[in-house]
């Protein structure tokens, strides 16, 4: 089966985002960027399906500015067979991304699409579900286990209160949770090989999707700062403070 893996270039997860002085957005100039951690897990899962002989082809796709090709090369170095870059300089919303991906799903007809459950910048947790809706496919979100048996895929989902297992009809959309797998590192020879793998570029506005903004970003602020606390000497003082000063116990 063919597996499509959409990935996103985001701020590196170790970097603390800084708000611009004019409160227009988060400042991403000269900030280290990387593949979204949940997307790495999605790629890893697809590669494992290929190694197990279940997947025949793994296609990585990203939507964004030219610089995002760096993350596509990473995906190729990890083992994806080919990459597609849907190029745009616009800042797109989840619904737009889902619609563009739906066009690609129509063209490529993958039986499985694996996405990260959320990107660590916008924290929306929407794209996979929206793609499933637009393509009328089943969805297995927040997956910590994926098993393909014939025409169905069994997905164990991380839900509040525990784990839920569902059986999805293929073709399906799966979104990854952190515990699905541990992504591998790309080796130097594979990084070199990845440079020769195919990377197609498609202009986003050639796909006939209405990309008019649906949400206006009015401002971005720093969250309220917590006032600095105190260091207590011992347990007795801690309990005393919690009882008399903070009055929480």
């Amino acid at each position: 089966m063919k597996v499509l893996v959409p990935i996103k270039r985001v701020i590196d997860y170790n970097v603390k985002a800084r708000v611009k002085a004019d409160n227009s957005d988060v400042d991403l100039a000269n900030v280290k960027m990387a593949m979204n951690p949940f997307c790495e897990i999605a790629i890893e899962e697809a590669i494992r399906l290929k190694e197990a002989g279940t997947a025949t082809e793994v296609i990585a796709v990203t939507i964004g500015a030219k610089a995002a090709q760096e993350q596509l090369r990473t995906a190729l170095a990890l083992g994806a067979d080919k990459a597609i870059h849907i190029e745009t300089d616009e800042k797109l919303e989840s619904l737009h991304i889902a619609k563009l991906l739906a066009k690609l799903v129509e063209q490529e007809a993958p039986e499985l699409v694996i996405l990260g459950k959320q990107s660590i910048d916008s924290d929306n947790n929407q794209t996979g579900q929206m793609l499933a809706a637009l393509t009328k496919r089943s969805q297995g979100t927040f997956a910590s286990k994926v098993d393909i048996n014939g025409n169905t895929v069994s997905v164990t989902r991380e839900v509040d209160g525990g784990l839920q297992t569902v059986a999805l009809k293929l073709p399906a959309i799966v979104t990854t949770d952190l515990r699905l797998n541990e992504p591998r590192y790309a080796s130097l020879p594979n990084i070199m090989k990845a440079k020769r793998k195919p990377l197609d570029v498609i202009a986003a506005d050639s796909l006939g999707v209405d990309l008019t903004p649906r949400v206006e970003l009015i401002k971005v602020e720093e969250p309220a700062k917590r006032s600095g606390g105190i260091i207590v000497e011992d347990v007795a003082q801690l309990v005393e403070k919690l009882k008399t000063e903070a009055k929480v116990i």
Partner: protein, 308 residues
Amino acid sequence: MKTLVIAEHDNGALKPETSKTINAASKLGFDIDVLIAGTKLGAMSEKAACIEGVTNVLTSDNTLYEHQLAENMAELVLSIADDYTHIVASATTTGKNFMPRVAALLDVAQISEIIEVVDSETFKRPIYAGNAIATVKSLDNKKVITVRASSFDLQNEQSPANISALEAANDVQLSDFVSVEQTESERPELTAAEVVISGGRGMQNGENFALLNGIADKLGAAIGASRAAVDAGFVPNDMQVGQTGKIVAPNLYIAVGISGAIQHLAGMKDSKVIVAINKDPDAPIFQVADYGLVADLFDVLPQLENAL
């Protein structure tokens, strides 16, 4: 202008998130209908009808919705969506699962995890793991919104509103429920607890989490964990507090052996009082803690239990 709130429940009891989400919805300023879909709805619908601001409770008592699978839930919401300008659910794993599907079927954007209602089309929501707060305005005719329940209070009560049953259900036959593995606990639910005590990598193993039990019992606290503790297999993942786990805002949060990585802080930094117990005085957790104790947790936890 009318708002639909989809109730969060476990086929028997409404979850506190439902009341908090109705509180958020009440700030929109319109009549509120509540949809409860699942089984054993009797007591739950009566309870929902008594939440202040609720005009109608719509019930769909059908095993089709027992596990709230996204494919069928989205169809159900879609079937009544015409009557509403705002469709709201709590940002639990259930709400996060079916709401974007509803939004896409309606061809509108979703505003995820709002923490404040500015007006009926403008909302505040955290981005970048809570390191920035975005104010966003929805330009769509219909707003599909999920609510971070921990940012809103429980809603008051009222005399009961109408309850009516919805007819016809549509099975889209895309997915089937197979099984559920619930983590059993006598303690309060993590997201609703007044006090939370969490352990991190510093706990060293799963057995040592038992050191938190006595303290949790005395404080009526829920026990949480950092991602490091979950990934190391000390405790199950539904105990995880953080950007990728649960978001909590209790009165008191006690972080034990947790360094305070960005992703963990995203899940607890709105707690009223934060206590950190860590032997590393440079751990980032001390920068957000109201009270810090630099000590070995294995010395301190038994002392704390005795002192309470």
